[in-house]
């Protein structure tokens, strides 16, 4: 622990050493005008170069990303597959079309690339035109009876055989 007078002396020594540094630095400092003159040219060159490198890297990344997205968008949709019953034979085939009845048809061929995606877009079903493949099972001989209102004196004939 320093005595107060020792403390003051050491602070004075430190201050004096710093002042010698200050004098030497003042002698070697460039002038204000020189400092201002040197700057703009130097600064912008380095900045431009760094910006160019960053821009080239960004372009490469964007091109790679666009290519990756294109490849993913060109993939074909899952083709229609026949449903297989417990016995192993196909029972029905789901076909998405433009209002035609169900019950048959083969999955259409898948064109490559962009044509594939257009064909796939066309094959997308319209919910309003979809018909159930098992619709026939819901028809019965008594459909006429169920859909009409009987009147007094009028007899509804029910066919005995399935049409």
């Amino acid at each position: 622990m320093l005595r107060p007078d020792e403390h003051e002396r050491s602070e004075a020594d430190i201050r004096s050493l710093y002042q010698t540094l200050r004098q030497a630095d003042a002698e070697r400092a460039p002038s204000f005008a020189q400092s201002l003159r040197a700057l703009p040219h130097r600064n912008r060159l380095g900045y431009l170069r760094a910006v160019t490198v960053a821009a080239v890297a960004a372009v490469i990344l964007v091109v790679a990303g666009v290519n990756a997205l294109r490849q993913r968008g060109g993939e074909s949709p899952v083709p229609a597959r026949p449903l297989v019953t417990a016995g192993g034979s196909p029972a029905a085939t789901l076909v998405f079309g433009t209002g035609e009845s169900s019950g048959g048809g083969t999955p259409h061929a898948q064109p490559a690339g962009r044509r594939r995606s257009k064909a796939a877009a066309k094959a997308v079903p319209s919910i309003s035109t979809w018909k159930s493949p098992t619709e026939a099972l819901l028809k019965s001989p008594a459909d006429g009876l169920m859909t009409s209102v009987p009147s007094i004196g009028y007899t509804v004939s029910v066919p005995t055989t399935t049409q």
């Binding site: 320093l2 050491s10 602070e11 020594d13 430190i14 201050r15 050493l17 710093y18 002042q19 010698t20 540094l21 200050r22 004098q23 030497a24 630095d25 003042a26 002698e27 070697r28 400092a29 460039p30 002038s31 204000f32 020189q34 400092s35 201002l36 003159r37 040197a38 700057l39 703009p40 130097r42 600064n43 060159l45 380095g46 170069r49 760094a50 490198v53």
Partner: protein, 181 residues
């Protein structure tokens, strides 16, 4: 602040600013000039929208700008090493300007003192420079360093203690040599 007024203030502070830039650049004169020039550019280009709001003195505010610019310059040095930025040392206005006349002993003493300061941690070195070289108060030094007054005081006391110990050791060594001679 008006651009002309700003320029006048910067010119008045130029020598002290160079000394501070030198301290922030570990004594490298070429880097110090680069730091000072970039600081001038930052301040002059944003003259109309200057962030100086008279909460502190112009000197402490500008010294804060120089300090931040020196930190950026240290990071740029890393990029330069990786060859992504061009070398700028050749464009330095005056990298190794020496004082006109100096005695060898004085010059050696100065260099020896600089080496001792180089052994101190950065924050301690900065606060001692601001207080003893730039003759700022501890409060002003804290503003320039963007630290709290408590932190500044801690760095100041620790730095002074370390520096004193180094000077005493040097004095003992010098006296021992004198005694032997």
């Amino acid at each position: 602040m008006h651009p002309d007024e700003l320029r006048a203030q910067l010119e008045a502070l130029h020598r002290e600013s160079f000394g501070w830039a030198l301290a922030c650049s570990d004594g490298d004169a070429a880097r110090a000039e680069s730091v000072l020039q970039r600081s001038y550019l930052k301040v002059l280009e944003s003259a109309g929208t200057s962030s100086f709001q008279a909460r502190s003195s112009f000197k402490t505010w500008f010294f804060g700008v120089v300090r931040n610019t020196a930190a950026e310059e240290r990071r740029r040095w890393i990029w330069r090493k990786l060859r992504l930025l061009p070398q700028e040392s050749a464009d330095a206005v005056a990298s190794e300007r020496k004082p006109a006349e100096q005695s060898l002993a004085e010059s050696e003493l100065r260099e020896h003192f600089r080496r001792m300061l180089g052994e101190l941690p950065r924050r301690q070195r900065e606060v001692l420079h601001l207080v003893f070289y730039q003759e700022l108060t501890l409060e002003e030094a804290a503003v320039a360093m963007a630290v709290g007054i408590g932190s500044a005081r801690t760095h100041y006391e620790r730095g002074k203690k370390k520096l004193r110990a180094m000077l005493e050791k040097e004095q003992v060594v010098a006296e021992t040599r004198r005694a032997r001679a």
